[in-house]
Amino acid sequence: MSTAMEQLYQQVILDHAKYPHGRGLPADATAVGVATADHGSCAATSHQVNPTCGDEITLHVDVDTTGAAPVLRGVAWDGQGCSISQASTSVLHDLVVGQDLATVDRLAASFRELMQSQGAGLGDDVAEDALGDATAFTGVSRYAARVKCALLGWVALNDALILSGARTTEDA
């Protein structure tokens, strides 16, 4: 197998694909597209499909709105797809749960930028450190056809946050 393949399928990606984190929707997850809001929290679920390959992700967010800055309290997801889309959503879960929404947006923007880097990385140590395991996807950005796989969960996250009402604009 070539070095390019080893860079694409780094061990951390294969591990997340095999043992994904945050997988499994709670019984009380909201229906897709329906938001719920209580005093101090809001929640919503997004369903995203990659039409070229049929990969699917359903992702639920639960946002704590009690404090000055809303915090992403929980992310749960389910889906079927390739190792890249499944691992990327697993890494997303580890990165964003417990973060305030401004941080979530910053991470999402960094990851999107990484996916557009065509293998070059961000060239910004601080931003890359913040992405943690997600930098393992740098090799994916060399393969234009796979970038969509890596972004599927992130698209679902952004959509779910908008649906929930926690954030009103698509600024991620």
């Binding site: 197998m1 070539s2 393949m5 399928y9 390959c53 049929g54 990969d55 190792s83 890249i84």
Partner: protein, 448 residues
């Protein structure tokens, strides 16, 4: 499914395959096959079902048209216009000839999808009363039924869903067996006196299964339904005689039969095309135009509004000539041999399952498969790393994949230039897939 390919053959039916020397000569005709991929790997192109590579004669024909003969066709009285028109119509005759049709029965379309839509929208227009009394045979209304199959490419499904929605007709379908073969035995119950259209594929772009067209045509005739054949996968790979098959309409695309993109064809029985109202209207498809009304040209021009894809049509004519000179029986025999090799290759790798018929009978050298525990996208990536190009995903046939219990598959599909060596390289790369993803196989050949 006891029929063989024999009824599909016409002309020379001895099916003598290509010799090694002939195959080497064919490969030399396709410049792209010589290129290498990243890390200097040779290209193993097994995605001809998606699009074929182009022989030099096709590339030359398109260039030659622009270099020496370019002019507007079917208008202008100058010599260049006459030569351009002759080239355009000569190409029509060549493509029609390849499928046993006469030139007047072949309408140029931008692709096969456009050809299906042309028929569907002509029926829509007829349903609105356009085309008058002769077009009433195309009119649909609530209570009428359109029958397709569960194995269709989306291009031969979605236009019929839309036609049903526009006219109030009901869409029904023939299901498939677990091996992907159509449930021919259901024709008698699904196709009824209410059926007005029976649209079906000649060969599945997923399973490679070849449809027993005669059974479909016979049932359609019993109930007076029009037949529409998706011949995209058959015309490049099998001898096809559309009038002999007895279908009313057929569609196929240029780029899958070694021609350029941007051109496809609709075949229609002459009397049907004569009666069918136009769809796209404007220049070039008229007889007399006044401010109040217009009369339309006879087919095929009636369905060819606006400036046509002349250079692509000319190049497709060259592709048809190329196939004709190779001889479709020889092409089919070569690919039948490859189908056997592909099936053997997939069967020899533990943890890999074929979607479709596993016997090399009535099928194309198009083999879709799933690898246990590895998503099709990842399979394709590992094969790509070895220079092996296959299709991954649902191949524009989501209902068929759903029926076969998978979301996606990988597909290896051969062309006339595919070699035994290509299949061997594919097999070797496929054998490494499960190991790459940390899945081991036990020695008895079963997945661990």
């Amino acid at each position: 499914m006891t029929s063989t390919l024999e009824p599909l053959l016409h002309g020379d039916t001895d099916g003598t395959s290509l010799s090694d020397a002939e195959l080497a000569a064919v490969r030399a005709d396709f410049p792209l096959l010589e290129r290498t991929l990243r890390d200097d790997r040779p290209l193993v192109y097994l995605d001809s079902g998606a699009t074929s590579q182009k022989p030099e004669v096709v590339l030359d024909a398109e260039q030659d048209f622009y270099v020496r003969r370019n002019a507007a066709v079917h208008r202008g009285a100058h010599q260049l216009a006459e030569e351009a028109t002759a080239a355009f119509e000569d190409a029509r005759a060549r493509v029609a000839g390849l499928v046993g049709a006469s030139p007047g029965e072949l309408v140029w379309t931008s692709n096969a999808t456009a050809a299906v839509n042309l028929v569907a929208y002509a029926m829509s227009n007829a349903s609105l009363g356009r085309g008058g009394e002769p077009a009433r045979r195309f009119a649909l209304r609530p209570g009428d039924e359109i029958v397709v199959t569960e194995a269709e490419h989306h291009a031969n499904l979605v236009p019929w869903q839309e036609l049903a929605a526009r006219t109030g007709a009901t869409l029904r379908w023939i299901g498939v067996h677990d091996d992907g073969r159509l449930r021919v035995e259901d024709l008698a119950t699904v196709v009824t006196d209410r059926t007005r259209v029976l649209a079906f594929t000649h060969a599945s772009n997923v399973t490679g299964a070849v449809t027993p067209v005669e059974a479909f045509v016979a049932r359609a005739r019993e109930v007076g339904a029009l037949t529409v054949l998706d011949a995209c996968q058959s015309v490049p790979h099998l001898p096809v005689d559309l009038p002999a098959l007895g279908v009313d309409f057929a569609v196929f695309s240029g780029h899958k039969m070694y021609g350029p993109t941007g051109v496809g064809a609709l075949y229609g029985r002459r009397e049907l095309l004569e009666a069918m109202p136009p769809v796209t209207t404007g220049g070039s498809m008229v007889e007399v135009v006044t401010m109040e009304a217009t009369t339309y040209a006879p087919p095929p021009q009636r369905f060819e509004a606006g400036t046509q894809m002349v250079s692509q049509a000319v190049a497709l004519g060259a592709a048809a000539q190329y196939l004709g000179e190779l001889g479709m029986p020889a092409v089919a025999a070569h690919e039948r041999h490859l189908a056997g090799l592909l099936l053997d290759a997939v069967a020899s790798v533990p943890g890999v399952r074929v979607l479709g018929p596993t016997q090399n009978v009535d099928r194309l050298a198009t083999v879709s498969f799933v690898v246990d525990g590895v998503h099709a996208h990842d399979v394709g990536q590992v094969l790509d790393d070895a220079g092996v190009a296959v299709r991954v995903g649902h191949h524009c046939a989501q209902p068929l994949h759903r029926r076969l219990g998978v979301a996606a598959s990988a597909r290896a599909s051969a062309g006339v230039y595919t070699t035994d060596g290509d299949v061997a390289a594919f097999r070797e790369a496929l054998a490494g897939v499960r190991a790459f993803f940390g899945l081991t196989d036990t020695t008895d050949g079963r997945p661990a």
